[in-house]
């Protein structure tokens, strides 16, 4: 599926002060645009509070966007009617972070995985439903004999497999995975990553993969977008991003990861914290923490420009990249 996001904006208002008389707006997603080729995996990274989960939910139509477009094969999710949205949702699915709270504890695994099929009427008869659910369970590495158990009887990794089976049971062509491995242990995380990578290849899924771990993103994605305060500050394919990150924030993020190297780093480069999204700094939002900021950075918002080749674009929003 071809996915394109155009100037997407989502704001929240926060009431503060005496009886909540001061209303302030938080720009959680502040004009995000990107395109996805069919079958492409885009990794979205950023620190907590940068708006990556809001972006995911707005893209899915789980929360209404303020303005902008989310086009799936040319259909704009933001303006569709409920009925049209429902038809589209068959093709657009989501995998959540927390495998403990995203599964209904009172449903058996069979019913959890069958639910999307039932809602959309995507089965012929009971036998067909069973066959589909069982084959889905097998393809995510669960045994069909476990289908009558409840979620609490499974470990975190197995629960995440159930979540993946539920998301893929309708054979969607686009999936948003919102931090699907962050809550898992290292050994289980790698099992789930391999599973997602294999399924993505086999089914030709287009995917937005949200994570805060750059190593995970590099492993699974074709391209990377770095978010900061609701904006994408850099987007490129994985090779050119990790080969040569251009935005100072991306460089800092990469620098901050404790790597399993023999060489020790001094962690000296990173100062300060992500500013409060109620007061986004003027000009370039990153200038307050940026080691190479100059005057122009605090006054003028940098353009979103391509500094790579035309056929292999490397987008960045920085005056000095």
């Amino acid at each position: 599926m071809k996915v394109s996001v155009e100037n997407l904006v989502k704001t929240y208002s926060i009431k503060e002060g005496f009886f909540g008389r001061d209303t302030k707006t938080v720009k959680a997603v502040n004009g995000v645009s990107f395109d996805l080729r069919p079958g492409e995996v885009l990794g979205v990274v950023g620190e907590s509070g940068c708006g990556k989960s809001t972006l995911a939910r707005t893209m899915l139509g789980l929360i209404p966007a303020d303005s902008g477009e989310v086009n799936y094969d040319g259909k704009n999710m933001v303006t569709l009617s409920q009925a049209e949205k429902k038809a589209l949702r068959k093709n657009v699915q989501v995998i959540f972070q927390d495998p403990f709270s995203s599964l209904n504890p009172r449903l058996r695994v069979f019913d959890i995985i069958a639910e999307p099929l039932v809602i959309h009427g995507a089965y012929k008869d009971r036998e067909d439903l069973e066959r589909q659910v069982h084959s889905m369970m097998e393809s995510v590495g669960l045994s069909p004999e476990q289908s009558q158990r409840y979620p609490h009887e499974f470990s975190g990794g197995q629960r995440q497999r159930i979540g993946i089976a539920r998301a893929l049971s309708l054979r969607p062509s686009f999936v948003v995975a919102d931090e699907p491995v962050s809550a898992l242990d290292v050994s289980v995380q790698s099992q789930i990553l391999n599973l997602l990578k294999d399924l993505q290849k086999d089914l030709g899924l287009t995917m937005v993969f949200i994570a805060h771990d750059l190593a995970v993103v590099e492993y699974i994605s074709d391209s990377v977008a770095v978010m900061y305060l609701g904006m994408i500050v850099e987007k490129a394919d994985v090779e050119s991003f990790f080969g040569r990150p251009r935005h100072p924030y991306s460089k800092l993020l990469l620098e901050a990861i404790p790597r399993m190297d023999r060489e020790r780093k001094n962690f000296a480069a990173i100062e300060g914290e992500i500013p409060n999204p109620i007061n986004i700094p003027s000009g370039c939002p990153f200038h307050t923490r940026c080691p190479i900021a100059t005057e122009v950075c605090s006054s003028t918002k940098p353009d979103w420009r391509n500094i790579g080749a035309k056929e292999n674009p490397h987008w960045v929003a920085c005056h000095h990249a």
């Binding site: 907590s48 190593a215 962690f267």
Partner: protein, 325 residues
């Protein structure tokens, strides 16, 4: 290590009573922390690493269903054999602890200043004004930008990184010789994690503190620890210098953990996950606890392997066969 040993944990056991059966969560582990040394304790969730930290601090002694035995020697005294009163003079003063989630470890209804001043007054019995000045100083030393303002704020008003700094400041009030840090950066973003790790490294330099760093992140271990203990199923399965353990691991579990970690710049190599998952407490196999997940398991693994006394030991029968190096 030429430096004097500060804290010496010998044969520490922690067990629970569950359904009238005793379940062993930490089984005969030994850890040695010297001054100025950062000792890593690494493992997946459920391996007993946090319990080890809590047992050392004597935080499990009032739990009725928990039994702790063994020795924790600190300055020739066994912390586990002490009365609560004796322990109190050491806990906080000499051995301090920081936790993973600073929001739940700070009292939400008191200001930061209130909680810090209380710590000073309780432990050092100094007047309020002195305690206040000392509190501002300690906040400054953990890089809090506006310490005086921070003193008047409540925990919920601070960001996660700031809260963790306050926790560290509170642990430092009495200039402890040993700091037990239980996943201090797990809940934080990478940039903030880097700042906290840098802070821990600086404090170690300045105060010659011994630090036990409990973590699941091998990258953090590689960056800040001197020696590391790998835990699985309540046992230490491998220990040694960071260089030895991470770059020439001997135990199949350590090897598997390293292989299953995605590393930047290694995108082409497929991850090789360990099979299965950590079993629930009490459901580990008899003998070597890793054997149901181990690709090399053989008959001998039904007996429990012991950790040798060499510089880089691993508790695995393969090593006896000369295959585990």
């Amino acid at each position: 290590m030429t430096k004097a040993s500060l804290l010496n944990v010998k044969n520490l056991n922690v067990s629970f009573m569950r359904d009238k059966a005793e379940v062993c969560a930490v089984d005969g582990i030994a850890i040695n922390i010297a001054s100025g040394q950062i000792v890593g304790l690494v493992g997946e969730s459920g391996c007993g690493k946090s319990l080890t930290g809590q047992a050392i601090m004597g935080l499990l002694r009032h739990k009725r269903a928990v039994r702790v035995s063994g020795e924790v020697d600190f300055q020739n005294k066994n912390l586990l054999g002490m009365s609560e009163k004796q322990l109190r003079s050491i806990r906080g003063n000499e051995v301090a602890m920081i936790f993973q989630e600073p929001l739940t470890s700070l009292n939400p209804v008191f200001t930061i200043g209130n909680q810090l001043v209380e710590a000073y007054r309780l432990h050092q019995r100094i007047p309020f004004e002195q305690a206040y000045t000392a509190s501002v100083e300690i906040l400054k030393s953990v890089n809090i930008p506006d310490p005086v303002r921070c003193m008047g704020e409540y925990p919920h008003q601070l960001s996660g990184g700031m809260r963790q700094r306050v926790m560290i400041a509170m642990a430092l009030t009495c200039d402890p010789k040993v700091l037990i840090a239980d996943e201090p950066t797990t809940a934080l973003d990478v940039t903030i994690q880097a700042q906290i790790l840098r802070l821990l490294l600086r404090l170690r330099e300045e105060r010659d503190m011994g630090i036990l760093l409990i973590t699941h992140d091998l990258g953090v271990v590689a960056q800040v620890c001197d020696v590391v203990n790998v835990m699985y199923g309540g046992h230490i399965v491998e220990k040694g210098t960071v260089e030895d353990v991470l770059f020439s691991p001997r135990h199949p579990y350590t090897k598997g953990l390293i292989r299953s970690m995605p590393k930047i710049g290694n995108r082409r190599d497929k991850l090789q996950p360990l099979k299965g998952h950590v079993p629930a407490l009490g459901q580990f196999p008899k003998g070597c606890r890793f054997r149901n997940r181990c690709e090399f398991a053989f008959e001998k693994c039904s007996q429990t392997p012991k950790l040798g006394a060499e510089a880089h030991p691993a508790a695995c029968w393969l090593i006896d066969k000369g295959l585990g190096a």
